[in-house]
Symmetry: C2
Subunit: 357 residues, 2 copies
DNA sequence: GGAATTATCCAAAGCGCCTTGGATGTTCGA
DNA sequence: TCGAACATCCAAGGCGCTTTGGATAATTCC
């Protein structure tokens, strides 16, 4: 498929400088904005570079400068056929905006947890990246120590609970958001509130659980373990959990759900039980603002704690690039406040049909 | 954050060969499996490399060999805040398996259509990739000609309709799958069948539309334009479309839906209308087998045409790497057959409540 | 006008790897 | 025992870029 035209396409410094009758040094300096070149030659060089569609060979540039101009995203998966959290794609879409703005590329990997360590060591030894984003931090997470040992700059999307170490992170206020949401349900008169959560070995889910419990306890309510479920963020998880809970003796009158996808399963279970969301049953979800699940509008479908994951991606990337540029900034942190948005899925408590029947 | 330990971590060929008392040539050859080195030294070298956690500097290697050892995925988006099709993440997760198996890295970009051309030209000029996967092909798609001109190896995930040119592609049988699904609905007695489709400027949606029409026409049915909707694959699209259609005078008794996400909206609209899926209304979806929407099990929720996007990713990547390795294979093509899977969302036609009332 | 700046530009080294074209030592057949 | 064939290893050049340390010409200052 490669043909003769290719050689025209891929011009290099040497050719460019020969065409211009200048040295490689001068051309390089002209293009990189060094002062030792006159404004007139700089213009001439830039024009020629543009016309020749010249871009420095990224590999050669990296070799010479020692900078990979690439950021790695290593997505942890349990197995190769594992669930891929839809949040990651949205986050990456955001981060990628920042990267292209600053001339960086994005390298993506999926790593099973068992070879996560070797993955990190490998990409560093290969000089593949200048830094990484750590996804899906766990309550305790060995990646912190590992990355510090390797000396690879990183930003965590989320936080690690069981550590006193410092590190760069960007996170939303999981705990207070879920506390606030729970409080809203309590204020509406709900007492039997179910939490349909993500895997609580992961920080975000654990913190949401804590926030949920905070609110219950502050209001003198006891939590019911059978109304607390924790699993991967799938529709099935939501459906099966809600179905089972609704059929039980102590059916909840309200659900607090950790993601939109899960809520779709919950919604389905509720309507299959012949109940109406926002009337018989209240639901609050956490809304990551995924682009294909639109929960906005004048009156959103779901009452929700909303925090844009895409924006988090943008900001995380900015933080990382800044960290790489100015190591003395370490550590940087940023807490994003979610918004509690009233939708049509919440309403005052009322005795449920099923219990009346 | 980088500290003294780093230098220990990042060993290079020179150091390694000095440690071993061998030349760089020999060490390089030993590690790359050349025959000019004795088995005993090879063992010795491999051991030392492993112990020193030596990995060749990817940038230097690329420069020397001319191979980037990287594949690019350029995801087209209308605007930076655009919907990111969930299918892409799953596809990429699959492709990534193949890449890491063969020592390749995956470079990801999101490109607005207006600067798609410059994106491709740029990554080629930069020598950033050895090939690319083309996502979301359109009915007519300028990327084909562009990539051929540039001479960059590529594989299209899907097909381009309006072209006679040859190119590498991997696709599912969109047209026949949707024809088959439509036929099933017709066989069940349905005559008013709605198609809730993706954007029909995209090939996959257009082909599904054609398949849908094929079946209608073969059975002497005329299509009703008001029962054919086409938009981005969001839940909202499904919900609003189905709500409107169900409320109209010629409400459909069956829906053919282009994705699981959209179907969730359709399902919601149906249950809000007080109708039961699989009884009052039949629904067939196309199921990309996304990991967080589980539509498997003994009796899946939705009757569906299923084709795993993740597997497509694996195979597309294999095809591309093979193409890069053996250019004479051009063009390669692969058609994946989707499976029609019976779920509980379809049933024989019966007069609808709404029309009876 | 001559020395000291300043403005421009260049030659060459080096980043870490692969690879060509020998060099050296070993083994084998005659 | 000697040359040929082979096995084993090495020195050095080159991939395309950045960057150091001048060189040359133009300008300024006394």
């Amino acid at each position: 498929m490669r043909n003769a035209e290719v050689s025209c396409q891929a011009m290099n410094l040497k050719q460019l400088s020969e065409n211009l009758g200048l040295s490689q040094t001068t051309v390089s300096r002209a293009l990189n904005g060094y002062p030792e070149v006159s404004e007139s030659t700089r213009k001439r060089v830039e024009l020629a570079a543009q016309q020749g569609n010249y871009r420095p060979n990224m590999r050669a540039m990296s070799l010479a400068t020692g900078k990979a101009m690439t950021i790695g995203h290593i997505i942890p998966v349990a197995t190769q056929s594992d669930v891929v959290n839809p949040v990651f794609a949205e986050f990456v879409a955001g981060a990628s905006q920042t990267y292209s703005q600053f001339g960086y590329e994005l390298m993506l990997r999926f790593a099973e947890s068992k070879d996560e360590e070797s993955t990190y060591r490998s990409i560093v030894a290969k000089h593949a990246v200048d830094g990484v984003i750590v996804h899906s931090p766990m309550r305790e997470d060995s990646r912190l120590a590992l990355l510090k040992e390797i000396g690879l700059p990183f930003v965590v999307h989320g936080r690690v609970c069981d550590t006193n170490e410092e590190y760069n992170w960007i996170d939303m206020n999981n705990r207070s958001a879920f506390k606030q949401a729970t409080q809203l349900l309590i204020d509406l008169g709900h007492k039997n509130i179910a939490l349909v959560n993500g895997q609580e070995s992961l920080s975000f889910a654990w913190l949401r659980r804590l926030g949920f419990l905070d609110a219950l306890h502050e209001n003198g309510l006891t939590h019911n373990p059978s109304l607390m479920a924790s699993d991967e963020l799938t529709e099935t998880h939501g459906y099966q959990t809600a179905t089972k809970m609704l059929a039980s003796d102590h059916a909840p009158s309200a659900f607090l759900v950790s993601s939109y996808v899960v809520a779709l399963g919950v919604r389905h279970a509720i309507s299959q039980a012949g109940l109406a969301i926002g009337k018989d049953i209240s639901v609050i979800i956490h809304d990551d603002a995924l682009s294909y699940f639109d929960n906005s509008g004048a009156v959103p479908q779901f009452t929700s704690t909303r925090s844009s994951v895409r924006e988090a991606g943008i900001l995380a990337a900015e933080m990382l690039l800044k960290q790489i540029d100015e190591p003395e900034l370490y550590p940087q942190t940023k807490l994003l406040k979610s918004h509690l948005i009233m939708g049509s899925s919440t309403g005052p408590y009322r005795a449920q049909l099923s219990t009346l029947v």
